[in-house]
Every structure is written in C-alpha cells, then in structure tokens.
C-alpha cells in the first residue's frame, strides 16, 4: 500500500490543510515520507458531525455484528503484513520482534473485546417487574441497561504504536461499547497510524458499519486535539501520555458547557518493595530481574520500575551493587522520539544535580542520536520525603532506590507516594506479616499489586487493572487495559412501564439475548 499522508474522515481520504508532521527515524534522525498535513477546524467539525450521525445506527448494531466488526479490524491489521511492521520500525526505532508481539497483542485485544461484546454482561441488565398489588403503592416495571456514552476521541500513544494507538485498547473498548471513535494520531508514528486507520476503515466498510464510526485525524501542536475534546458532540476521551498533556485535555473537557470524562493514563513510577527475607535470600537474582525490567524497551513503559523501596543494610547494599554492575554494562537503546529523549535527558540531569540523590550507575553511551543510557540513583527516605521532585516520572530507563531505616519509614514512604499504576512486592515466607501490614496502604496507592514479578508486561484479560489513583490516571474507578475498559464508555438508562415492543432487545421479556439478568433481585442462572 502506498502511504498517502491523508486523513480519514469516515470513508473519505482527505488532505489536511494545516502544518504537517512527518515521521522521524529516531535511530538516524532522518525524516520519513510522506508529510501528514494537519486537520483544520472544519475537518474536525466534519469528523465530529459524521461520528454523531453514526451514533444511533452504530449503537444499535447487534452484539454479533459489532463483534464481527472488531474481529474484522484484527484481520485487516494482520493482512497489512510486513509493511506495517517495517513502517513502525522505521518510525519508532523499536525492534521487529517487539512490534510483531505488539501486533499480536493488538489483534488479540480486538478479538477479546469481540467475545466480551457477545457475552453481553456489560449491558448489566436489571429488571424489577411491576408489582401492581404492592401496598401502600404499586411498583412500576423498571428495566435498566447500559447505552454508549456517545462519540469518543482517542489519542494515540507514542510508546505503543499499535496496542495503545489507532486500533488499540481505547479504540477497541469504545467501539465495543457502541461508541463511534475519532482518533487523533500520535505525531511520532503517522505512517503506522495511516496503515492501521485504513485497516479499520476497510473493516467498517466490509461490515456495513455507518461511515462515521471511525475517523483518523492528524495535527501538529494541540489545536486538533483541543478542538476535538471541546466539540459538544464528543462525549468521552481516551488518552495515554504525559501528565501535562493529560491535564490539558482534562481542563478542556471541564471547560465545556457539558463537561465530559477524560480517561487519561498519565504518570507512574511503579514502586518496587524488596522485603528483608527476599532481599537476603536472592539479592543477585532480584537485581538481574530489576535491571531487565528497567531497561526493557529503553524503559519507555508506563509500568517501568522507577522506584525501589527497601530497608537499608548489607542486603540492600548487595542489591544496589549488583544492579549497578548490570546497569553499567547495559547497552544504550534508541528512544522513540527526539522529544522523549530530550525529556529523559533533562530528567536524569536534574536528578544527577539534586543533592538529595546519588548517582549509582550509568549505562553505556550510544553512538547514534536519541540514545537512552540507563541511570540508577540512590537516596534516603528522609530525602525522598523532603523533596517531591524525587517522585517525578523520568520516562525512560531511570530508577531511584530509597533506603529506609526501618519498617516505620517504609510505611511513611509508601503513604507519601502519589497514585500509581502498580506496586510490586518481592517477598519470601518470612516477610508475610510485614507485607500484610503494608497492603491496605498499597491498595490505596495502586491499581495493580504484584508479588515476586516485575510490573512491565500488562496482560490483556478480564482481571487486569491498568489504572490507579491520580496522577497515575485521571479516574481511579477504571482500567484502560482488559475487558473492564468497556465500562468507561457506557451509562445506564432505565425504562419504566415500556410496552415490550418498544423495549430495546436486551430488555425484552423473552430475553432474546439469553443474558443472565438481575431479575427481581435475583441473578438468573
């Protein structure tokens, strides 16, 4: 397929008429063809109008038809073959195997949402039948289901050009909920976005979906994004990116005449707690696992272990020494964009100049542009508690070890933490009581707690929570990965005393969708 550099407004290929972006090969600094001209206010308006016009028809598709659409998107993405992988490699500097894995994950994610749609539990059907004879007042017939919120804007993420971008988790879950989607492509991988966007549009056409179910816009700067979030027809926003970017979108969404939810996944340093017995028994293995997780993908993961908390002493000293050794020999890796590299560089320099932190190790220097050198810092609990800047996310392969004097200080550090996506616990049998005492605090701080593993690697499944208290996300009640992500794009509607013929299929008395409804206070079997 030849890349056109054009946007997709429904089924129409449209050239933007604002300043253009281009992909950049971060490994060489070379600009990639073609240029992607940004959308105008009028083009944003067209996409919103189409999405709004598609809402009734798309929201009313059968569960099977909607599932088939999601499956068809997956098949169309797979049909792009190596062209997709090679373009993504050129635009992101990510290795082939990683992108092949991410493509598999993206397609599996779409198919999982197809199964979720068909199972229909998300409709949360609740029926309280009429009680005409009830005293002192009769009860009406009341039936509740979930309906789509409305058109959703999704912002592509830089660090997952497939799984969190054009047809990633936000798009898949919004489409699953019955919401038309407008994607604002991330400027770091416009060609990858075009390829995937065309795959989605082909699937929409093949499945007979209304045209406005999907659009893909480009834009340089914030103009297109803010215009989309501000459009009164848009009813929710999905975003994965920086704290400042997320907060700007939240502000725009709150400034509307009708404020709307923004699901922004923003910032997390993912504390790792090393408990005494575990640290004593396997400091070397822990250091190895830690550095592998820290440096994977140049540390460009939301769940990168950016903070280690443990009690000071010889065991921790051994861990730090072993981790430092591995860091020093770790190879430099190309970061996703010059912007991410410069932000990382500034963040590690700030830490290196902060008298409250000590640089323990630096990885190997690279030869080309945008090379991430891993960094390991050490501080004490008192310093960590005194300086909020030590909690700032340095997006990349940098981590800070916090040495605590005792259990009380560990609790103090945990209590002091901002909201997180994950908290990791390395423990042995002898640590259980100490862990148990900390659990309530950690549950309040993070969306996912994990034992004896590493936070990088986020399974797409029913039980996953990729979310957490602010600023990890803007809405701790939700997850952006896993099937519960569909719940972000729904709202309940109650139908009172409706004649059966007027009821939506999900609520009709004969239960045509074979749902296990909450019927008169009892869950059907």
């Amino acid at each position: 397929m030849t890349l056109t550099g054009h946007m997709l407004i429904g089924q129409h290929t449209v050239a933007g008429n604002r300043a253009a972006i281009r992909g950049i090969n971060p490994a060489t600094g070379a600009e990639l063809e073609p240029a992607y001209a940004g959308g105008s206010a009028g083009q944003v308006e067209q996409a919103c109008a189409l999405a709004s016009a598609a809402l009734d028809a798309y929201g009313d598709t059968s569960l099977d038809a909607r599932a088939e659409f999601l499956q068809s998107i997956a098949a169309e993405i797979e049909a792009l073959g190596d062209e997709l992988i090679e373009r993504a490699m050129a635009e992101t500097g990510l290795p082939r195997a990683r992108l092949q894995g991410e493509r598999a994950r993206t397609c599996q994610q779409l198919r999982l949402f197809a199964r979720t749609v068909q199972a229909g539990e998300w409709l949360d059907v609740r029926i309280d039948p009429a009680q005409a004879q009830r005293q002192p007042l009769p009860r009406a017939d009341l039936r509740q289901r979930q309906v789509p919120l409305g058109p959703v804007v999704v912002f592509g993420a830089s660090n997952f050009p497939l799984a969190f971008s054009v047809a990633g988790g936000d798009t898949a879950s919004a489409l699953a909920a019955g919401c038309p989607v407008i994607v604002k492509a991330h400027g770091a991988h416009p060609g990858t976005s075009e390829l995937v966007g065309r795959a989605v549009a082909r699937a929409a056409k093949a499945c007979g979906m209304p045209e406005g179910v999907f659009s893909l816009l480009y834009g340089c700067g914030h103009e297109v994004g803010i215009a989309l979030v501000s459009d009164p027809r848009i009813k929710a926003v999905g975003f994965t990116g920086s704290r400042s970017g997320g907060l700007a979108l939240i502000q725009a969404a709150q400034a509307r005449a009708e404020p709307i939810p923004v699901y922004a996944e923003m910032s997390s340093i993912n504390p790792v707690l090393l408990f005494p017995a575990a640290l004593h028994n396997r400091a070397q293995a822990l250091a190895e696992g830690f550095v592998t997780s820290l440096t994977m993908g140049a540390g460009q993961f939301c769940t990168n272990p950016g903070l280690v908390i443990a009690r000071q002493g010889p065991a921790l000293d051994g861990f730090v020494a072993a981790a430092a050794e591995r860091i020093k020999t770790s190879a430099a890796q190309t970061m996703l964009t010059p912007g991410i590299f410069h932000a990382y560089d500034a963040a590690v320099k700030a830490l290196a100049h902060n008298p409250r932190a000590r640089l323990a190790a630096v990885g190997q220097a690279g030869t080309g542009p945008n090379q991430c050198q891993a960094h390991l810092f050490v501080t004490d609990a008192a310093d960590f508690l005194a300086d909020h800047r030590l909690q700032a996310e340095a997006f990349g392969a940098a981590s800070l070890i916090v040495q605590c004097a005792d259990d009380a200080e560990i609790l103090q550090v945990c209590t002091h933490l901002e909201g997180q996506l994950t908290a990791t616990l390395h423990l042995d049998e002898a640590d259980l009581e100490q862990v148990r005492a900390l659990l309530p605090t950690l549950e309040r701080k993070a969306g996912r707690l994990l034992v004896n593993g590493w936070p990088t690697g986020v399974e797409v499944c029913d039980a996953m929570v990729h979310g957490g208290p602010f600023p990890a996300t803007s809405d701790s009640r939700t997850t952006s990965v896993g099937t519960a992500a569909i719940l972000r794009f729904l709202r309940p509607v109650c139908y009172q005393d409706f004649p059966d013929s007027l009821l939506p299929t999900a609520l009709q008395q004969s239960n045509p969708l074979h749902l296990r409804r909450l019927f008169d206070g009892q869950r059907e079997r």
Copy 2:
C-alpha cells in the same frame, strides 16, 4: 431525646464554634431551638482524620458485619419514633404522612443496601488463573476485586430530610461500599439531622464499627463544605441540590492536588411528551395526572414535570385548558425554606415577564409565609429554541408547555434539551412509530424514560436510574438511587501472583464468599 445542637465527630458530641444555624418552621417563620453552631477548620480536620483512620478497618469488615450495620441504622431510625417525624414536620413544613412514607423508604433503602452488600456482586470478582505453559509467554495469576474509594463527604438535601440526607441514599451506598462517611447537614433541617445522626452513631457503636465510620458536621455558608471537599483524605463527594451549589463543589474537587469525583445531582426539568393519539384520547385524564404530579409536595422534587412537549392543535388546547382549570383551583403549599420560596418566586416572575412565554394559570394564593402558588406557562417551539432561559429549572410547582408545529419541531426541541433525570412519554398504540423515532434522542438526554406515568416517585430498586447527562448530574455514568449507586464509591484493584494466604477473602481460591466469579473468561454458576 433532647436535641443538643452539637455535631458528631465519631462517637463524640462536639459543640461547634462558628456561626450557628437554626431550623425555621417555614409555615410560621418561627425559629426553632436549639442553635447549631458551625464546625471550625480544626473540627473538619478531626472528622477527616477519624474517617481516614477508620478506612482500613471499616473497608475490611465482613459482608455480614457491614450489612448488619446498615440494618442496625434502619432499626435505630425507626426507634426514634414520632419525635423524628414531628421535628421533621416542624423544620420542613412537610405533612406527617409524607414524612412517615419517607422514613419507610429510608429504612427500606438501608436494608436493600444490606442485601446488596451480602450478595457481593459489587465486588465484581474476576480471576484469570496462571497459564505457566502459555507461548510465547506464560500468563501470571490475575485477580480483580473492587475496593472502597476512601472517606466520602455527603451533603444533605433540603427536599428529602430523611431519604437524601444524613442516612439517605448517598450515605447508605457509600457505607455499603466500605467508605467512612462525613455528612454535612443541610441547614434546613438541623434537628432532624441530629436525630438521625445519633441513630447512625448508636448503630456504629452497637455494631463495633471503628469510630470514624461516621461524623456529622454543621456549618453556615460554604466554609465547612468546601473545607471537607478540599481535604486530601476525602476521596468522593455526594450532593443533591442546586446547579450552582453542585458546580461550586465540582470546582473545589477539581482544584485539589488529587482531583476527586463529585456525584452532584443538580438540575432537571423532566420533559413530558404527549403524543397525538394519547392526547386525543385522554386529554382530561392527562391534565389531571399532570397537575397532580406537578403540585405534589409543592413541586419540590428533582423529577418534577417542568416541561411539556406536544404538537399544537385542538387536543393540546384541550389539555392546556383542563390543566389550567386544575392549576387555578390548586391550593397553595408551604415550601421547605424561605430561600427556596424566594428562588421560586423569582423564577416564576422572570417567566411571567419573559415575552416568549405566556402565563396560562396561577394557583390559589396562600395566607402564611413561603406559600408556593402553582404556575403554568405556554410557549412555542421557536421561542423555546431561541431562549435558553426557558430551560432553567424553577424548583417548585411551575411548568412550561411547548407547542410544536410538527414532528420535526418536536425532534428539534428534544435535541435542544439539556441533560435530564427523566423523560416521560404519554402514548397510545397509534403513536408507537413516532415514539420509536424519538427514542434514541431521548435516551441520550435522560437517565430514565417512562411510559404513561409521571416522573415523580422514584423507586429504590436494582433497576432504577436516578441520574442523567449534565446538568441533571455531574456524572451520567452513575445513579444516586437504587443499588447501582454503590458502584460510585468503588475502584478496581488487581492482585498478580499473590500467595493465597495474602489474598483478600473475596479472591481466595476456595471462594469463601461463594461468589459467582468471572473465572477464566466464564461466569461461574
């Protein structure tokens, strides 16, 4: 019981030391004893500290213990006997039977949440067991449950001194979710609030709950409320009241270092659509039902029918004439507070002076203070569409009839509406196709759609939605009435590779709570 005029900070009776409020008998204007001195910043701080300290223990209570606590609150409220009813009558001007009914509803609501807690579906347990042999990567063991958000602040509502106040729906659902609650009493019924607050505190003590599970504060002006919402230990807010009040709380919640959700139920005019066949066949009966619903409780309900939409013509003229006749003979009723009366008076005067609306009827004048006279206005669709002020809620027994030229204008008026709690459809068989065409638009505007009934009267059950798009509420994804209200105060946490002994009971492998879990993609039976 002797009213003390004191606040409750946990189990402690504490005298406020700021400006006092007093109940006022709206039927006479007389001030009631005792005075309720407002809480200081230090007292707000004490209540928040206690609530925060109670979170771990209260959030960890067994489902049975928590249910028993809710049931015990209901029993303690019932044990207050006539003293509660009489104090509420004096403070609100509401009749005895209405308050007896509201007490029954409040206690039934607490018991319904007790059953909901015990059923445990709200825990939404999802388990994806480990797949050690999976290729290319093994799957970890992943388990998700819902945990309480944290301490919740509830603002009492003026118009339901029992069902939406100290132990009303917000408090019951937050306690059910495992969240400690701090209630800011509404200034219109401080004595009623003290009685109920003491009942809650007695139940907490009898059930061995941690002290900070419940506090009750008073305050004149906004100081106490804003201080509560701004306290970093508070994690969610429930509010029923005016649009300006709700927006002020949302602003305070968004200005925090960690923004929190505010569930504000604010403003709704509850459109009623009269379809042609229904209007032709039973204009008189519709007019009778309409005026009964409009004037019930002096119109002081969130679901009061403040807007009627129908096609112009003789049938509608007949309805307007019949409704006007009934309005003219409707007796004046005492409003809840002088403030509500003055706001109503200003709103109907503004409508009367608006050249786009015509006054069709006024109810009988009253003799005492704060008497609500019902008002009926008529306008045309073009005028309604041209003047946004005609959509403003006039809290009280006022309604506006919008005459439309044709179906297209009806659709236009519906599309133009702000978000609503309810939309009511009066229809006969012959109207079905026209109704069907409007339904998608109405679903997007309201949380509850009802056929051939009236919107006042909100059943407390599983299927109820008392919510809707902004400005009806601040969060259309939720309901403040019915068992789904518990979902507002929860967030998911995922536990990865936890040893069974470290897992919360709800997630342990042996399923000790006998939940129907989502296990490996299948719902257990």
